[in-house]
Amino acid sequence: MSERLATQPPAPRAGAAFAPGTAAVMPAAGGGGVIARHPVWATVVAVLILLLAWLVFGAWPAGLIAVLGRKRVVLNAVLNGLTLGGLYFLVASGFTLIFGLMRNVNLAHGTLYLLGGYVGYVVGVASGSWLLAFVAAAAASALLGLLLQWGVFRRMEGEDLRQTLVTIGISIVVGDLMLWVFGGDFYQIQAPDSLLGAVKLPIVVATRGDGSAVLLTYPRVRLVVFAASVVIGVLMWLALNRTRIGMMIRAGVDDRDMLVAFGKPVQLIFAAVFAFGAGLAGIAGVVGGTFQSLAPGEDTHFLLASLVVVIVGGMGSIPGAALGALLIGLSEQVGIVYLPTYSVVLTFLIMVAVLAFRPAGLLGRHVAPAQAGASMALLAAAAAARRRPRGEPVVFGLRAPTLVVIAALLLMPLVANGFFLVQVFAWSFVLGMIALGLTVLAGYGGMVSLLQMTVAGIAGYLVAVFGHSGVTTVSLGWPWWAAVLAAILIAVAFGTVSGALAVRTAGIYTIMITLAIASAFFYLTLENYAIFNGFSGFNSVPVPHVFGIDWRRPVAFYYLVLFWAGLAYVVAVFLRRTPFGLALQGARDNPRRMAALGFNVTAHRVAAYAIASLIAAVGGVLLVWLNGEIAPGTAGVGPVVDILVIAVVGGIGDPIGAFIGALIFVLLRTFASDALTFVGLNQERFQLLIGLGFLLIVFFSPDGVLGLWARWRGRPRAAA
């Protein structure tokens, strides 16, 4: 037994997080015994409960109002937070259930939510029944969930990175299909009359002049839904921990083969759990459609909420999801009262604190930070497959095809017009640079980070904030070089610190954590006007005149971008042969052995984030000059994922893949509308095209276009 334990790090057993012992939020049985055993703690808890009760039910003295604000406002925010937490729990518990039991990271979970909402809306309008809307939404989402489980997760068992990439592709495709059908409008689902209106709660918020009490009123439907989510949560927990089926599910997580050997229908159980988790997301969609509204973008919003909730609460733990959902719901709503436009920062800080002190989440089980990422086998294989034979010169001993490409790029302005130079090539080089950082991180280091576009966005924003822009109320008007330097420094610092948080866990967690951080920045730029100028961002960001050259002119700008992209490429290629690069690749393949050779694996990984951030930051400065403007959408969730798409489509095994992927992406984006019109589709279906292309690549060529090319030339490079 100990031999087995000794030769492999203890695998995170999220299933065990369902065990009664770790369910800290469940009330302990036999309260009398607890009080007898912990008299001091029992007193502290009792005092806290009394204090809380007084805060809720008592009349607030003026001093307290001066500190906290008016009682009605505060209590309303708390109730909003609690009920929002209930909604978050409904979405996140399905995500965490699927992740905890099957280790499947389903980034199409938000899509299941929005699909459920839309289906619920249609059925609700057609039938006039709110309850029927729930049934239809649950059924639709469960069906899509079953398709995912059968078509993706079961087919790619054990390849968790590839599974996750496929779910990203599916969320792009289905998201665009839903946009096609439902358009960009807002939909609201009507609650039945019996649930409309407000309830008077027995909570006094103020007293009138005549001495009568003013009671707090609150929408009935929100309270009902909150109660329902509590019931669903408790039932889920009981089903997992107190029933035979639950026991079988938990056993299947720990040892699938053994359960199969016992003759239990494991695949059936897993499919059922997947359908259930997906169905919950669909139900949440109807709830969300009633509370709030349904619109494109809500899928990402709720996916991200789920990610943050499970990161904070503990991945795979149902009680953790409950705790996380309440914390995040409360912090968002209370944050709006005390920190308007910065409330997302509060959420972000909670996540950072949890990652820093309890990387596995508040109620999650410890994950060995240096654990070998089995999920990275794909990347490692892709990288190993593209190794050059030793001794072949890399940087200066250029081969003929390389020379031809260099010459063509240098002479391009002779043949290409300004449109091509800027809209196609400059864009490709800039996006390629940003993706190149990901190639360094993922291809060499095995860390699939979604921070690249965010780091670029920060650099771009700060160039506008420190330097010049059309928004003179915010821009500080520093000289261009000072603005650029400060922007790059701050962006790199942000990327490095975020990387240091992300490396506290390994493997597939990286993608979840970096996506959560990236989206926090997006929502911050959207809400915040003091620094980021909110929704509209910055326009008229000038390209500086230096050395008497107007760098805004297409040819000059082309060479400027070509220079920096080429430099970044050479650095990335050079890096692979350096001791640092070798150590990074070693840390990707076998972190435990690297530590046993004397390397500090964490330090190497953080340094890789710093280098990738530097490349992205330079790319971000070029991006804002190229665009002339920057807005929240520049580093929104779509572009953040696009960078991953570019890197994977091009091929993550070689630095040139990033640029090939970027060129394909830009060409598609520039000319897709013509092509789409040609085949009779609306030209707005660009995302559909991108998503389908991404899915095809991930399904058929994990090492991207480069891999396809190698196979086409009949030189199979992969070991397979």
Binding site: E3, P579, Q585, G598
Partner: protein, 260 residues
């Protein structure tokens, strides 16, 4: 060999390795219970015991792969209990793994070069290695010492099993080791490879001590000065090889356990 260890100790050297009350729990399971153990510098010791006795867990606690749940570990007098693995390695501790832990996608030379780089300065160096570098020379010498020169530029994945085991040992010899933990280095080797292994172990400079986990008594007892028997996570008996070999309790337990 024993005389070297005794001379070093007589000269006032502290113990190479000193474990006090080391316990390691996996959940409710005690993989190691209250292990107290001292090994002198230059001493060569075998750890024997049936499967599940806690031998590999002992190694993992010493190297820091898994920190002990309680107890202290001193390496040449320094308390390293809370050190991460790499800090122990940089102080001269080395280990091999029972199941080879190599970089399958790199060449043999790159593996050894990483081993040498890990225990020297410049782990973050951005200067590609050159033939004239002292570190490259050291790696080439090590390659020669473990008879892997002919496969220098092959990927590790392409090596035969025995060669991978040799590479595993080479990684433990990189730099200036002071104490090495060998986890079943002979497992799965052919008789010829075994005698090559014994040659390498016997050729180690006398100041380098080691602990070897080995099921094959013939191999183990030909290279060590002392033996520790483990059973169920505890130390069961310690002594000279001939004492342990003739101990009736050990014979019953170990042979019984091995053939069960």
């Amino acid at each position: 060999m024993a005389s070297v260890a005794e001379r070093l100790q007589a000269a006032g050297a502290v113990n190479a390795l000193e474990l006090r009350g080391v316990t390691r729990m996996f959940g409710a399971l005690a993989a190691l219970t209250d292990i107290t153990l001292s090994v002198r510098p230059g001493e060569r010791r075998a750890v024997l015991g049936s499967n599940g006795a806690g031998k590999t867990t002992l190694f993992n606690c010493i190297t820091g792969d898994f920190p002990p749940t309680s107890g202290t570990i001193r390496f040449f007098g320094e308390d390293v209990t809370d050190f991460p693995p790499q800090d122990r390695i940089r102080r001269g501790l080395r280990r091999t793994y029972q199941i080879s832990q190599l970089f399958a996608g790199m060449t043999v030379f790159e593996n050894i070069y990483l081993g040498c780089r890990g225990v020297s300065r410049g782990r973050f160096s951005m200067r590609p290695p050159r033939r004239a570098d002292a570190l490259v020379q050291a790696a080439e010498e090590l390659l020669d010492a473990v008879h892997l020169v002919p496969v220098r530029d092959l990927l590790v994945a392409e090596l035969a099993y025995g060669q991978q085991r040799q590479l595993e040992i080479a990684l433990a010899l990189a730099g200036a080791p002071r104490f090495i933990l060998f986890d079943e280095p002979a497992a799965g080797l052919s008789p010829t490879e075994r005698s090559e292994l014994l040659e390498i172990l016997n050729a180690l400079p006398p100041h380098i001590g080691f602990i070897i986990i080995e099921h094959d008594m013939d191999v183990a007892l030909r290279v060590v000065d002392s033996v520790t028997m483990m059973h169920n996570g505890r130390i069961f008996k310690e002594g000279r090889p001939e004492e342990i070999e003739s101990d009736p309790e050990v014979q019953e337990l170990y042979l019984g356990g091995a053939h069960a």
